[in-house]
């Protein structure tokens, strides 16, 4: 039938145009990158053991970490308030109570050993301009293993989505639409302004954000954003949280859709019947 043929031509040309300017053009502008690596397999200097000496880890953490970091889980607050530590270090050292839960263990061990390397920020931090947190390369793998074991042992078994965001992201990034202000202005320290993340979930694709958070250099080579080493579950929580703030009406949208589309299908059906009735008289 002629009208179907016309419709076919329309659909084909529209589809060619659409594929060209949308999926194809975007695949050229944003080349596909390898998927997320939540095991951080590029970090393989330390062989982590199944078990560690928690007691020894506790001693090591208290003598090496709590000079800068808070550890509320063990009843220790940070030695300085946020404003002071931000002005001293350029960034606020996080409380490490949840570190054992939200960060991958392999990443955490390598971060302790060499923060700039694990965070993939060696282009920013080096001998002349050292990372605010010093290297612990002088420690044995055994000792680092024990510290990680201790951090895992004191970490809570569950954290809220928002809490992961606050721990992992909000020291640099604000979330205005949820009234979260970044702990410190790291513009000077980072060399660029970390964007507000309120609607980042709409500004970037899901795939982009996932691979970017997992390894920022992969999507934005040379960026000052560190690889933070979130575990797969923790990153999923961050993504959930970003979506709950930046696309807060998603559920409403998806629930309303079938009603509107269903109504229109019924309308089209009646419109068709009416058209048949009217045109029967003239054909």
């Amino acid at each position: 039938m002629k009208e179907w043929k016309i419709l076919g031509v329309l659909v084909i040309f529209t589809a060619i145009l659409y594929i060209g300017v949308e999926p194809y053009a975007h695949s050229v502008m944003h080349p596909h990158v390898s998927p997320e690596d939540y095991k951080f397999t590029d970090l393989n200097d330390i062989k982590l053991k199944e078990q560690g000496n928690v007691k020894n880890g506790e001693t090591l953490v208290q003598s090496n970490c709590t000079g800068c970091h808070g550890l509320k889980a063990a009843g220790m607050s940070a030695p300085m308030d946020k404003a002071t530590s931000a002005s001293v270090y350029g960034v606020v050292p996080p409380d490490i109570s949840t570190a054992g839960l939200i960060y991958d263990k392999n990443y955490l061990a390598h971060f302790i050993k060499n923060p700039a390397k694990a965070a993939k920020l060696e282009h920013k931090f080096n001998a002349e301009n050292p990372h605010p947190m010093p290297n612990y390369e002088w420690m044995s793998d055994e000792e680092i293993n024990d510290m990680v074991a201790y951090l895992v042992s004191i970490a809570p078994s569950h954290v809220e989505d928002k809490k992961v965001f606050e721990e992992a992201c909000s020291r640099c990034h604000s979330m205005r639409y949820d009234k979260i202000k970044a702990d410190s202005d790291v513009t000077k320290y980072m060399g660029s302004y970390p964007p507000d993340l309120s609607i980042m979930i709409r500004a970037r694709s899901y795939e982009f954000l996932n691979t970017f958070i997992n390894n920022p250099q992969k999507q934005l080579h040379g960026t000052a954003m560190p690889r933070v080493g979130l575990s797969e579950e923790a990153q999923a929580k961050v993504m959930n949280y970003l979506e709950s703030i930046g696309d807060s009406k998603k559920q409403e949208r998806e629930e309303l859709a079938p009603w509107v589309l269903g109504y229109l299908v019924i309308l089209a059906l009646f419109a068709y019947l009416w058209k048949i009735k009217i045109w029967r008289e003239v054909h």
Binding site: Y18, S198, R202, K249, R253, L256, V260, K275
Partner: protein
């Protein structure tokens, strides 16, 4: 004075005062449309309906939008998208509608070109339609600026900059359009005014003109055959509806349009709910930042072909600067469609597939415009730049050659 008598009912009361029955006849039941048409003839009604949808959703958005560079972004992305009940729905309808209406405009335009519906007395329909295309383009561009995202800002920057290429007055003109030396708050507020007042008013006027322009020469048929509307309408009114070559606008024509419209709306609302990124570019969910140029600046899809003609000329030719060449071609591309009725020198009104030379020209034009659109979005580097250059030249050559093509066709078919 008219004879006013005691009315027999509400309809009669109005009829005595406003001649509503006569009006209804003239506008609806005795407004004749040829019967030999297909669903492409429903695009006009879809466009009018889409304009209505955009107007209504726009009014809702207008209640919360704040035209101020400090407030605009949050008024859209927080207040409207998150706080206002169903504000997100109105924004999605408005944003997706603005994009989809151009798809229908292009279908409507190319239907007119394919069937030769711009000649033999239908020149004013074509010109008023092209006027609407230009007005809708301005409406689309000004509206895109309002959320004050990254692409709003940089598109405004690039597009207003184009006017700087106009000889003598260029630089002053850019400042005059922007209301400042750079894209600023003054730019946003004036484009806001254009978007919600001046251009919509002009569009409504142009729609009136476009509809009126149809009355005298009447709508074309899908074969291009002329219809004797007087005889055929008499036949219809006499009751021989089956053999009459015309149908009344209401209810016959609209019954079909209404079906096509409601089918189209299923597609449209599917996009509104599930597939909106093509119309609401994610980049524009980053707030405007005049210090951070986006990696890729591109206009909305419906401007891509003319944008590519603008930037297709990337090297100087014969001492003329690449920028000026691009600008001249851009002006040519945007103006040349108006002249189509006079560039087509063949008097034949028939679908393109029955015109041996024009047929080739038409499908080449479609292909060139699709290639231009795709390469208008791709980064203009390496071979992309050359594809853009060749297709821009092809576009110009196609229009310059149209009179020759159609004259040759006229001679060959005699």
């Amino acid at each position: 004075m008219a004879q006013i008598e005691k009315s027999e009912g509400i309809a009669d009361w109005f009829d005595q005062r406003l001649a509503t029955k006569k009006f209804h006849k003239v506008m609806m039941t005795e407004y004749w449309i040829p019967k030999d048409i297909n669903f492409l003839w429903a695009m006009g009604v879809i466009l009018a309906s889409m304009f209505g949808i955009l107007l209504i959703s726009g009014i809702f958005l207008l209640m919360y939008y704040k035209p101020d560079t400090a407030l605009a972004f949050d008024s859209v992305n927080y207040t409207i998208m998150q706080e206002v009940a169903y504000g997100w729905l109105f924004r999605h309808i408005h944003g997706v509608g603005a994009s989809v209406i151009f798809l229908i405009i292009y279908i409507h335009m190319f239907t007119g070109i394919y069937y030769g519906s711009y000649k033999r007395g239908r020149e004013m329909i074509w010109i008023s339609g092209m006027l609407l295309f230009v007005l809708f383009s301005a409406e689309g561009f000004s509206g895109y600026m309002l959320p004050w995202g990254q692409m709003s800002y940089w598109a405004a920057y690039v597009i207003t900059n184009i006017f700087g290429g106009i000889p003598v007055i260029g630089d002053e003109l850019v400042v005059w359009i922007r209301g400042n030396f750079f894209v600023s708050d003054a730019t946003l507020t004036r484009f806001f005014m254009l978007h919600v007042l001046l251009i919509p008013l002009a569009i409504m006027g142009a729609i009136g003109l476009h509809f009126y322009a149809l009355r005298i020469p009447h709508v074309n048929t899908q074969t291009g055959d002329s219809v004797d509307f007087d005889t055929e309408s008499e036949r219809f009114l006499a009751g021989d509806k089956k053999n009459s070559k015309v149908i009344p606008f209401w209810p016959v024509f609209l019954a079909k349009d209404f079906f096509v419209l409601s089918t189209f709306l299923i597609f449209f609302f599917y996009l509104v709910f599930f597939h909106y990124n093509f119309a609401m570019d994610p980049v524009n969910f980053d707030p405007a930042n005049d210090l951070k140029t986006p990696a890729h600046i591109y206009p909305e899809w419906y401007f891509l072909w003319s944008y590519e003609v603008l930037r297709g000329f990337f090297f100087d030719i014969a001492g003329i600067k690449a920028f000026d060449l691009g600008l001249m071609s851009f002006a040519f591309a945007n103006g040349i469609f108006f002249l189509l009725p006079w560039l087509d020198r063949s008097p034949t009104v028939a679908p393109a597939n029955q015109r041996p030379y024009f047929k080739v020209w038409f499908w080449l034009l479609i292909m060139v415009m699709i290639v231009l659109s795709v390469y208008g979005k791709l980064p203009p580097t390496g071979s992309n730049a050359w594809v853009g250059f060749v297709s821009s030249i092809s576009f110009l050559v196609l229009f310059i050659s149209l009179p020759i093509v159609t004259i040759l066709e006229k001679r060959s078919t005699k």
